[in-house]
Amino acid sequence: MKRILLATVLVALAASGAASASEQHPTLAELERELICPTCHETLAVSTSPIADRMRSYIRARIAAGDTKSEIKASLVDQFGEGVLAAPPKRGFNLLAWLLPLVGLTIAAAVIAVLARRWSSGRGEPAPPDPSGNGRAPIDPELERRLDEELARFDA
């Protein structure tokens, strides 16, 4: 258990270190994956449009000038709007894009849990047979009452 905990902490620390390095010294390749060409709506990594070429040149110049990833992204958002980001920012109305899939997954998990519980309870131990029924299911009391009435009428 301790080993798992230690491994988890080490992985988390390594991930945060990598994220910090990426923030301080971004590469063109990672920014190309995180930004969208405003004319063709593909990521800069695959777009061959003229504005994508210009944006790549701009990013190269900003990286050379020592800008962080956040600064470069903020500068491009200022010039093209938030539509330039491949992933919507986690705030305001855009938060819905992040939350809705989680809400959907939670609801789906809840529905599956309810259905599974209902299904398993339906397959529980069978009810003990009625000793007077020769192993068959007991008769509905209302049906039994009507049957008795019919027999009494027949006998009369």
């Binding site: 210009r54 010039q79 093209f80 309810v114 209902r118």
Partner: protein
């Protein structure tokens, strides 16, 4: 209890689907709004030009189409990376010089562009008419744009008139449509 939960879940699912359909319809209507302008102008109607309020490229503040009411306005949509935009820039500048003292304004709307590139373009082609930056692509859908450059003409009443020029505009097209925008009867 289980029945209530089931009904609540069904209602939530229907609500989510209705919301998504409404969003889709809104997007379709918004996109068609710009496209419809073309057919209206071709049919001889004079639809109201979508009003915009955008930052001037030179940082002198915001300019609204409303501010230009009473004048004929040439609205030219362009970007610095677009080759035909470079071809038409001298033609637009010549028209601006020719008509600027006769109640005509040429407005360049730069979109899908880097601000520094736009400024370099303006300097290189000696553009002296007002240039605005549409940073959020606001005008693209509302004016039914499908590429760059494109030019619309607005009359003194703020209505779209004449031709919607897709591609580089010529001096003849500018003169013809400016006269129409200036003298457009109500």
């Amino acid at each position: 209890m289980a029945r209530r939960v089931k009904i609540a879940l069904q209602a939530a699912a229907v609500g989510v689907v209705a919301l998504l359909v409404a969003l889709l319809a809104w997007q379709v209507v918004r996109t068609d709004q710009g496209k419809a302008l073309d057919s209206k102008v071709v049919a001889g109607e004079k639809p109201t030009a979508p009003v915009f309020e955008l930052d001037a490229l030179d940082g002198s503040g915001q300019v609204s189409l409303e501010d230009l009411r009473g004048k004929a306005v040439v609205v030219n949509f362009w970007a610095s990376w677009c080759a035909p935009c470079k071809d038409e820039a001298p033609t637009l500048e010549a028209a601006w010089q020719k008509w600027r003292n006769r109640d005509v304004v040429v407005v360049g709307v730069d979109l899908q562009d880097l601000t520094s590139d736009a400024q370099r373009f303006v300097d290189r082609y000696d553009v002296s008419y007002p240039v605005l930056r549409d940073k959020h692509n606001w005008t693209w859908g509302r004016y039914g744009l499908s590429g760059l450059p494109e030019t619309w003409f607005v009359d003194r009443e703020g209505r779209l008139v004449g031709e919607h020029v897709e591609g580089p505009v010529t001096a003849e097209e500018l003169d013809r449509n400016i006269q129409l925008a200036l003298g457009s009867p109500s």
